[in-house]
C-alpha cells in the first residue's frame, strides 16, 4: 500500500521568521486583514511511502527525518502528518 505523508519543517518559536513577518506586515496587514496576528513560514515535503499501514508510513518518515537531519534540530521543529492512502 502507498500512503501520503507530509513533513512540515518550521522554525522553533524563539527563532526569527523574517519571511513570515514580511508576509504579515507588508501583505496581509496592508491588505486590510487586521485580525491576523501572526504568520510563520514552514517548508512542507510530500512523501509517498510504501508501507503496511498509515502508522508504519509515519514511523518510517519520522526515522528518516531524524537519521538524515531533514530538519536542523537546533532551529527547527518537524511535524509528521498523514495525508491518506494513494494509488
Amino acid at each position: 500500500m502507498k500512503f501520503i505523508v507530509l513533513v512540515k519543517i518550521e522554525n522553533k518559536p524563539y527563532i526569527d521568521d523574517p519571511e513570515g513577518d514580511t508576509i504579515l506586515r507588508d501583505l496581509i496587514a496592508r491588505g486590510g486583514y487586521v485580525n491576523i496576528e501572526s504568520v510563520r513560514c514552514a517548508k512542507t515535503l510530500k512523501l509517498v511511502v510504501r508501507a503496511s499501514s498509515e502508522k508504519s508510513a509515519r514511523q518510517i518518515t519520522q526515522k528518516l527525518c531524524d537519521d538524515l537531519r531533514i530538519y536542523n534540530p537546533t532551529v527547527s521543529n518537524c511535524y509528521i502528518e498523514s495525508g491518506g492512502r494513494t494509488k
Binding site: 522554525n11 524563539y14 527563532i15 526569527d16 523574517p18 519571511e19 514580511t22 538524515l68 537531519r69 531533514i70 536542523n72 537546533t74 532551529v75 527547527s76
Partner: protein
C-alpha cells in the same frame, strides 16, 4: 612538502579561487578532492570552499553533509587535522555536525554580496595565528543563508570555550546571533567562516571600495605557518588547555 585538499562538490564554485591562493605558497601541494572519494590519506589540511553544493536543495549544505568525503573528513577532524569551511563549506560543517548551530536565511531575505569589517576574536587557531590581537580586518561576504543561529546555552558555551573566532564589527549583514561570522570546534582545528578570504588575498582583485584589503591571505598564511613550523607554539585549544 605540505599536502592540502580542496573538496569539490557538484555546485562548488570557489574551489579554483582557493587553489590559486594556496598553490602560490612554496612547498605546498594542493589537490582537488571529488566529493565521492571515500578514502582520504596523507592530507595535512582540508578546505571546503564556497559555492552552492547540490544547489542548496532542502537547506544549504545538508545534502553535501551526507557525502562519502564528509565521513572521511569527520575522521580527520578527530585526529586534529585542520579543516576550514568557507561560506558553503561552513554550512556543510554545521550540517554534518562538526560545528554547532545553524545557518539560516539572512534576516533581510536577500542575498548579500559586499565587503564587511570583522574583528578577530581568537588567534589561537591554525587559521588565525598570524593576526594581531583584536585585529579588525576587511573581507567580502556573498551569501543568502549566512545568519548564524544558536540558542542561549550554546552561545554561552561558544563564548566560554573561546570558539568565537570572528564577529562582524560595526556591521550586521545577515542578523547572526551575537554578530558571529566564524566559529571553531572545541579543539580548535575545525573552523567555519561565512566571509571569503580567498577573495581578499590578491592585490590584483581589489574591491571597488577604497578600503580593499588582502587580509584574507593571513588566514592561509596562518594555516601554512601552523602546518610548517608553528604547530608547537600555536596548538589548538585542546593542547593549550592541557
Amino acid at each position: 612538502m605540505l599536502r592540502i585538499g580542496i573538496v569539490v562538490f557538484p555546485g562548488s564554485n570557489c574551489d579554483k579561487d582557493v587553489y590559486q591562493i594556496l598553490s602560490s605558497f612554496q612547498n605546498v601541494r594542493v589537490e582537488f578532492v571529488w566529493y565521492t572519494k571515500d578514502k582520504l590519506q596523507g592530507y595535512d589540511a582540508i578546505v571546503i570552499p564556497g559555492g552552492f553544493a547540490y544547489g542548496d536543495r532542502l537547506r544549504a549544505g545538508i545534502i553535501a553533509a551526507h557525502s562519502p568525503v564528509i565521513t572521511e573528513i569527520k575522521k580527520m577532524a578527530v585526529h586534529g587535522i585542520p579543516i576550514l569551511g568557507i561560506c558553503n563549506g561552513f554550512q556543510i560543517l554545521v550540517e554534518c555536525g562538526l560545528l554547532d548551530g545553524a545557518l539560516m536565511t539572512n534576516r533581510s531575505l536577500r542575498f548579500v554580496c559586499r565587503w564587511t569589517t570583522l574583528k578577530v576574536e581568537n588567534r589561537r587557531t591554525p587559521f588565525t595565528c598570524l593576526f594581531k590581537r583584536n585585529q579588525t580586518i576587511r573581507l567580502p561576504i556573498a551569501h543568502g543563508e549566512g545568519r548564524y543561529v544558536v540558542n542561549n546555552l550554546v552561545e554561552k558555551r561558544l563564548k566560554r570555550k573561546h570558539q568565537l573566532i570572528m564577529r562582524y564589527f560595526g556591521d550586521d549583514p545577515n542578523g547572526s546571533t551575537y554578530n558571529i561570522a566564524a566559529i571553531c570546534n572545541e579543539e580548535g582545528n575545525v573552523m567555519g567562516m561565512m566571509p571569503h578570504p580567498e577573495r581578499a588575498s590578491e592585490r590584483t582583485i581589489p574591491s571597488y571600495d577604497s578600503m580593499d584589503s588582502i587580509d584574507g591571505l593571513t588566514i592561509f598564511k596562518s594555516l601554512i605557518h601552523y602546518l610548517g613550523n608553528g604547530r608547537n607554539d600555536t596548538m589548538p585549544f585542546a593542547y593549550i588547555r592541557a
